[in-house]
């Protein structure tokens, strides 16, 4: 399941929802991304996105992860709008019988989301606002999954 929302999310509630009524899950991995204040340089972060395409990309990524690993459940939640240091930005949850699939899939989802979901961060600090630059590391993290796939 995927959701794009302004509201905050509750990790425990999301886990409880994934587990509800089933006892075949052995491993649950969650990733939560949060706003860092960067030693006072950031007072606010605004997330803009491309409504419609964001949901479409996240749905596509989730389907890819489910095709590649034996997941029993998965969830991606991404917030938009104006956030403050300490606030949650993104949540990925993966559940599987064994830990390897859950860890791999969660990391894959984050690496792909970072380079393909149409969201943009604008940071505001004491000296004004600026758009965050994409990190070359994120591109190479994504590329490493394509190499692993090719090697399989």
């Amino acid at each position: 399941m995927i959701r794009v929302q302004q509201e905050d999310f509750d990790v425990a509630a999301e886990i409880a929802r994934l587990k509800a009524g089933r006892s075949d899950i052995g491993a649950i991995v969650t990733f939560t991304g949060t706003v860092r204040d960067q030693a006072g340089a950031i007072t606010e972060m605004t997330l803009e996105h491309y409504p419609g395409m964001t949901e479409r990309e996240l749905t596509r990524l989730e389907a890819q992860a489910n095709a590649r690993w034996p997941l029993q459940a998965s969830l991606i939640v991404h917030r938009t709008g104006t956030l403050r240091p300490g606030d949650n930005i993104v949540l990925v949850v993966t559940a599987s019988e064994h830990r390897d699939a859950a860890f791999d899939a969660a990391r894959f989802l984050m690496d792909y989301l970072k380079t393909s979901a149409p969201l943009w961060k604008q940071e505001t600090g004491p000296h004004g606002s600026h758009w965050v630059e994409a990190e070359p590391d994120d591109e190479s993290a994504r590329a490493s999954w394509q190499q692993k796939r090719a090697a399989e």
């Binding site: 491309y50 395409m53 479409r56 149409p118 943009w120 961060k121 758009w131 994409a134």
Partner: protein, 83 residues
């Protein structure tokens, strides 16, 4: 044809979305960018470094050499920075 702009592309063009009639002969995303640059100083500025601009046709990522075909909407934006 609907054109959408996001993040600093939107800030520089000064608009989020518009409906345009593309000139005859404009067949690829790169050619749309080339035409947009001729539409005034804001557009020239927004698309100055065309190579860093990302594009999507009908909400799918595409490269600059992608053909527009029967696209309903084309979006232009900087490299994504979510997550």
């Amino acid at each position: 044809m609907r054109l959408l702009y996001f993040a600093w592309v939107k800030e520089k063009t000064g608009i989020a979305a518009e409906d345009v009639e593309l000139p005859a002969g404009v067949a690829t995303v790169g050619e749309v960018i080339g035409w947009l640059k001729t539409r005034g100083p804001e557009f020239a500025h927004a698309f100055e470094r065309a190579e860093v601009i990302r594009a999507a046709i009908d909400q799918n990522h595409v490269r600059h050499d992608a053909r527009i075909g029967a696209a309903r909407e084309i979006a232009f934006f900087p490299p994504v920075t979510g997550g």
